[in-house]
């Protein structure tokens, strides 16, 4: 009987990619999805956490801002402090940024409309629990579906992000005006990651299954297959790819 890791999927009122994320996690044999409510204050027995996409609290006031103040977010903060993996997809990314667990913020798209389409993306930081299975610079295709996905951070933060290798992935053709084409970022330690594209929507199928490695990576990382060299040394510059 192989080990099975419990991946907590956080549901806020208005989350709508929860079932898709559940199915994506369940496709990987070593991972077992489990629901976590926005009201939960404990993540005991959970090995990794995913905040799926959607419109938590209707995106009212500002995307992610109400969810970022839910009881479960304190638990996620403590969970992340222990170095356990946390992934935010789309609205989940917005919530993690709003909660201060990831740098930067997500502003309305430069075109001011919702954008749903497939994008070419380069995976840059491959030493996170979610990208181990990629080689640095890997070109993949993932769909985006958001209205507020324009990554923004002050210039100092941006320099720091680049220097520390905290850019998870970049758009090849920037769809929304994100600074430095950034589609996803990580925490300095790399264990917290957030991205606007939806890996859970490309798990199987004739066209692409480019989302699958994100979840396979998590299983591998939880099993102990990881490179322990410091993140900042693992990646030098975006032009290497």
């Amino acid at each position: 009987m192989p080990e099975c890791f419990r991946v907590g999927i956080i549901r806020f009122p208005g989350t709508n990619c929860d079932l898709d994320t559940w199915e994506a996690v369940a496709l990987v044999p070593e991972l077992a999805p489990t629901w976590i409510s926005h009201r939960d204050r404990s993540l005991d027995g959970i090995d990794a956490v995913i905040l799926p996409g959607g419109f938590s609290y209707g995106d009212y006031l500002r995307t992610g801002i109400i969810a970022a103040r839910s009881p479960v977010m304190d638990a996620i903060g403590q969970f992340a402090e222990k170095g356990k993996p946390v992934l935010g997809i789309c609205n989940g990314f917005q919530i993690l940024a709003e909660a201060g667990l990831l740098p930067g913020t997500l502003l309305p798209n430069s075109g001011r409309t919702f954008l749903c389409r497939e994008e070419r993306i380069s995976v840059e930081q491959t030493r996170t629990p979610f990208t181990l299975f990629f080689s640095p610079g890997a070109r993949i295709r993932l769909p985006i579906a958001h209205q507020e996905g324009r990554f923004h951070a002050d210039p100092d933060t941006l320099v720091e992000l680049e220097a520390r290798g905290q850019v998870l992935c970049r758009y090849n053709a920037n769809p929304n005006g994100s600074l430095r084409d950034i589609a996803g970022v990580t925490s300095p330690e790399g264990t917290i990651a957030g991205l606007m594209p939806h890996p859970e929507r490309r798990m199987r199928g004739a066209s692409t299954s480019d989302g699958l490695p994100f979840f396979q990576s998590l299983a591998a990382w939880l099993t102990g297959e990881r490179d322990i060299s410091p993140l900042s040394l693992a990646f030098s510059s975006r032009d290497d790819a």
Binding site: P13, D20, T113, F114
Partner: protein, 740 residues
């Protein structure tokens, strides 16, 4: 009270008299409000009902037909699909964002009221010309509104249609379609068992928004202008999602006896219609209705069209569980009344009775009109045929002309604003002319095809109506799906005009006869009359959605391709390539006077089994039914999204080059396949008796063709591929992105 005959709710004088004679007294304001809602065209279908009887809703797959919130058709041994299309035209013109958003919300409630979990949305939009800034704003806001609701509630918008036409400038059409999945043993009904049930209110609190949306309150009713509240409802997809989840939980746990959404005429129509179907009466206490504004009058509460509300009829012992589910979902709920044995609709506020009307007066005794009809006189002058119609440059010029209009371009600007993948069931999304959604059961999928092109119906209502049915069936056949059910939204002008009524009756008969001929049950539908402004009605515009089922949906060929060297063949009959009602006929009406093409019904039904077999054999790379603009535009739309793939066509002698290239006669599908599959395609076509016409091949960097004209003269035509693609991709997005 000198002028009691004149209605405070714009009920026509003769109908007021009918109310007086039915009641034997004057209605009070509450009762009059109730009559105004239920006798409105919107609720009573008083002008259309007798004609809608032409539709057949029977079929071995039909699990639920008209009379319910939505029709349900069996698609696997255990599952049904519930689907319906509805208009939200008038509100969308007044407030495009909220009007369109509430249109989506309303159709979704119809679906989950049946116990079906919504898995797909589509829409059909008709707007005025984008040359007007006002239309640009309307269009932009309608699209944003549709996206705002569907994206937030998490139901993918998998397809849609757009048509710009100046004749709709003051009456835009916003028709929304939704489809849901329901196990056959868990279908909910709007017909309650004849038991003493309680009426439970679930959802958003009731406010003054949308009061009298179905029958607008008269201005003379209030002295103060400032008291007039907007008649357009406000959407709240966040609450909508919670209401949807609570409703589906209640149904899954078997707690409800009957459910109806509070749509047009809100509380009044949902309560009266359900009581009527049970042959019972119902008593409501408006004091118990959760309100946003406690000063609301009983009639306002009854007519409010506040969104995200459901009415449930339940047994008393189930109430605590339902209230618990509502609490858990953070949705307002409460018992607001009960079913009574006397067949009356009684409205109380606490102990005071505000109105009491026999249910039958509101339903069966509602007016029913067989309105006069007379054919329209020909509205287009006769033009001599275009002088260069068969010349060498004409084909190219005409083709470019078709692309040089938002109607001729890709609709990507619209659908990229819709989340078409949430739920991860979408196998073919927007841009393929037919959408496919995975049922995730028995290796089957559902395909959805829309037909909202009104021009054939304008040219010839009966033939045009039939043509629309045939078009959807062709679209379905292109992915190997066989049709299982049809829903329609009949958008027309003022039914009191005999010409409009004639168009309506002809179109209905055309659609009904075609559906009957193809054994497609019409399981749900909606009529939108009075699309008229300043005495000018819109052209007749029925919009259809046909649902089909297909096996191994992951193998269905897409509508686009990106590789060179594939063979291109057209499958289907070329018997009648008339141009009447086509996009060409619309954009260049002076070109050629031509009838709407007749449909080769026998040939049409061969296409689905033929395509299904080829798909099963894995022989096809891409397919697309010949649609708007005809063959050339269809081919261009197949290659437009690839970087460099084009095509070279080598056609035989053509009797009617215009017809071959631009006719939209249904029953014709372009097949693209690898050359080694040529024999299997040819053999299978022979076996089924499907005619094939060799077109040519896909080829990099080209868009060229050769053919011989009637005199046997060799004709050649080559167009610059990249500029064609650019035209196609930017015909709509260009103006939307460059202008403010």
């Amino acid at each position: 009270m000198t002028d009691t005959q004149k209605s405070r709710f714009r009920i026509p004088a003769q109908e007021m008299e009918r109310i007086l004679s039915l009641l034997g007294r004057h209605p009070n304001i509450t009762e009059e409000a109730i009559f105004s809602a239920l006798w409105s065209e919107h609720c009573s279908y008083k002008s259309s009902r007798i004609h809608l009887r032409r539709f057949s809703s029977k079929g071995p797959r039909v699990l639920m037909g008209p009379g319910e919130n939505a029709g349900v058709v069996r698609v696997t041994s255990r599952l049904g699909i519930a689907f319906k299309m509805e208009s939200h035209n008038h509100p969308s013109y007044i407030e495009p964002f909220q009007g369109a958003a509430t249109g989506v919300g309303g159709i979704l409630r119809d679906i989950f009221a049946m116990g079906a979990c919504p898995i797909a949305l589509t829409n059909s939009l008709v707007m005025g010309s984008l040359r007007q800034p006002r239309q640009m704003t309307l269009f932009r806001r309608v699209v944003a509104g549709i996206g705002a609701y569907g994206n937030a509630i998490g139901v993918p918008t998998v397809g849609g249609e757009i048509w710009f036409d100046e004749r709709y400038a003051k009456n835009i059409l916003v028709n929304a379609f939704a489809l849901g999945l329901v196990p056959d043993d868990a279908i909910m009904s709007a017909i309650p068992p004849a038991k003493p049930l309680l009426a439970v209110y679930l959802g958003n609190k009731t406010g003054r928004d949308g009061v009298s949306g179905a029958a607008m309150a008269s201005r003379s009713f209030s002295d103060k202008e400032s008291d007039l509240r907007p008649q357009v409802q406000v959407a709240d997809p966040f609450v909508g999602k919670k209401v949807m989840e609570a409703t589906l939980t209640i149904i899954r746990r078997g707690l409800a006896g009957a459910i109806q959404d509070m749509g047009a005429a809100g509380l009044t129509s949902s309560s009266v219609e359900m009581a009527d179907k049970a042959g019972m009466g119902i008593e409501l206490d408006v004091e118990k209705v959760p309100l946003r504004d406690p000063t609301m009058e009983p009639w306002e509460i009854l007519l409010s069209e506040s969104q995200e509300r459901m009415l449930l009829l339940v047994e008393e012992d189930k109430v605590p569980s339902i209230l618990e589910i509502a609490r858990e979902s953070q949705v307002a709920a409460g018992v607001i009344g009960h079913i009574i044995p006397e067949p009356v609709f009684r409205v109380r506020k606490g102990e005071t009775v505000y109105g009491e009307v026999p249910v039958s007066h509101l339903t069966r005794e509602a007016p029913l009109y067989d309105r006069p009809q007379s054919p329209r006189t020909a509205s287009f002058p006769q033009h001599p045929p275009h002088p260069s119609a068969s010349g060498r440059h004409a084909i190219a010029d005409i083709f470019l002309r078709l692309l040089d209009h938002p109607n001729g371009g890709s609709a990507e600007w619209i659908f990229r604003q819709f989340d078409y993948e949430v739920g991860t069931r979408t196998l073919l999304g927007p841009g393929h002319d037919v959408a496919i959604v995975d049922l995730r059961a028995e290796d089957r999928g559902v395909a959805i095809a829309l037909a909202g092109s009104s021009h054939p119906v304008f040219r010839d209502p009966a033939r045009g109506g039939a043509l629309l049915v045939a078009k959807t069936v062709t679209d379905l056949a292109a992915v190997g799906a066989w049709p299982v059910g049809l829903t329609d939204c009949l958008n027309f002008g003022n039914p009191e005009r005999p010409e409009t009524m004639h168009d309506f009756v002809m179109a209905v008969s055309g659609i009904a006869d075609a559906a009957r001929r193809l054994d497609i049950p019409v399981v749900s539908g909606n009529v939108s009359f009075y699309n008229e402004t300043d005495g000018v009605s819109i052209p007749p515009t029925p919009i259809l959605a046909t649902c089909g089922v297909l096996a191994s949906p992951r193998n269905a060929p897409p509508g686009s391709l990106g590789e060179g060297g594939l063979r291109l063949v057209m499958a289907g009959s070329n018997a009648d390539l008339s141009l009447g009602g086509s996009y060409l006929d619309w954009i260049l009406p002076e070109l050629e006077e031509s009838p709407v093409p007749s449909v080769d019904w026998a040939g049409l039904v061969l296409l689905q089994p033929f395509l299904a077999l080829l798909i099963e054999k894995g022989a096809l790379r891409a397919t697309r039914a010949i649609g708007r603009g005809g063959l050339l535009r269809t081919l261009l739309s197949m290659v437009a999204h690839s970087d460099e793939t084009g095509l070279h066509l080598r056609l035989p002698l053509l009797d009617t080059p215009l017809g071959t290239f631009f006719s939209e006669a249904p029953g014709r599908i372009v097949l693209a396949f690898a050359p080694e599959n040529g024999p299997v395609v040819a053999d299978t076509a022979r076996e089924f008796g499907v005619p094939l016409l060799d077109l040519g091949q896909t080829a990099p960097h080209r868009f060229s063709l050769t053919y011989r004209d009637r005199d046997g003269k060799e004709k050649a035509l080559a167009l610059p591929l990249s500029s064609l693609k650019k035209k196609y991709l930017s015909a709509l997005s260009g103006p939307m992105e460059t202008l403010p």
